[in-house]
């Protein structure tokens, strides 16, 4: 039994689900769509609540060795790095977005909040990337005021058989009145 008293006067009704989805999708689209390099690779993001999955649809220009054929190692590294940065940026914006302080309607590439910068990024190639779609997810393992650590993993046909994993450190954007940091 989860019954509650009926809402009294002055109680705020929950936000319609379509409004919530629209706001989140608009922020994500602004975050991703503003970066030319993400478009160049063709990466798109699938969102379920706050969970993001990066999708890299296969395309011939992503190949390294065409004889095997295999995805270019640089593409794999870039895919994981993009996944990590978007995950971190998304987490940074989440509270502002949900509270409504971030106006999704006014977000465009020129008006995005400042995003984290990569300090270092390390990629392990576990097996060769096949000429198929690839997927990746990132997990923030530590986040602080100035630095964050993020892990990411990419797979293709089998979620349990990743073809690459990565970990990286990121410099968080400086906040107003923070004294400022530059990378």
């Amino acid at each position: 039994m989860t019954g509650r008293n009926p809402p009294g006067p002055g109680r705020v009704p929950p936000e319609p689900v379509q409004a919530v989805k629209q706001r989140r999708d608009a922020v994500l689209a602004a975050l991703v769509g503003g970066v030319p390099y993400i478009r160049f690779l063709g990466i798109v993001f699938d969102r379920r609540g706050d969970e993001l999955t990066a999708v890299l649809p296969y395309s011939d220009h992503l190949l390294g060795n065409p004889d095997l054929p295999a995805l270019h190692g640089g593409v794999t590294a870039a895919f994981l790095e993009v996944t990590a940065i978007i995950e971190l940026s998304w987490a940074l914006l989440w509270d502002e977005m949900e509270s409504g302080r971030l106006d999704a309607a006014r977000l465009d590439p020129e008006n995005l909040p400042r995003l984290p910068k990569t300090i270092d990024f390390s990629v392990d190639y576990l097996r060769s990337g096949l000429p198929r779609d690839a997927y990746a997810r990132a997990r923030i393992t530590r986040t602080g005021r100035r630095y964050a650590s993020v892990r990411a993993e990419a797979w293709q046909d089998n979620r349990r058989r990743p073809f690459a994993q990565a970990s990286g450190h990121f410099l968080m954007p400086s906040r107003e009145g923070d004294g400022g940091t530059t990378a």
Binding site: G34, V35, P36, Y37, I38, R39, F40, L41, D60, H61, L62, L63, G64, N65, P66, A70, H72, G73, G74, V75, A77, A78, F79, E81, V82, P109, E110, L115, K117, T118, I119, D120, F121, S122, V123, D124, Y125, S128, A183
Partner: protein, 142 residues
Amino acid sequence: MPEMDRSTAEGFIAALPHARALGLRVEAIGQGRATLSMGWDARLVGDPRTGVIHGGAVSALMDTCGGTAVYSLPEAEGTATIDLRIDYMRPATPGQRITATADCYHITRAVVFVRAVATDEDSSRPVATATGAFTIDRKGEP
């Protein structure tokens, strides 16, 4: 065995679809050493407000450069990246060409250890450095 010449290296790069897509150019090639460059390109930008190239594109340049350095070894027939770590020192200046040089600094029977440095037109301040381990397939071995 003869040293790899520039046209062989250019052929190696031209055979990689993604290296072509990035517009990579061979600048110099020696035994176990390669210099490749990537011109500034609006498609590779990571921050549209500044025009700075995305770190991922620099990673792709570093990885290709490391692989080319391994492939330039006289005994190498093929190679693949085992791991690659990139340190980003500063954003590359927008509009400038990024040049990376990779060196094979230690070679074992199955693994080559590679270091690489990338700069823009100010070659005194690195944009990024990388260290990686690459496999080596040796000529005449299965």
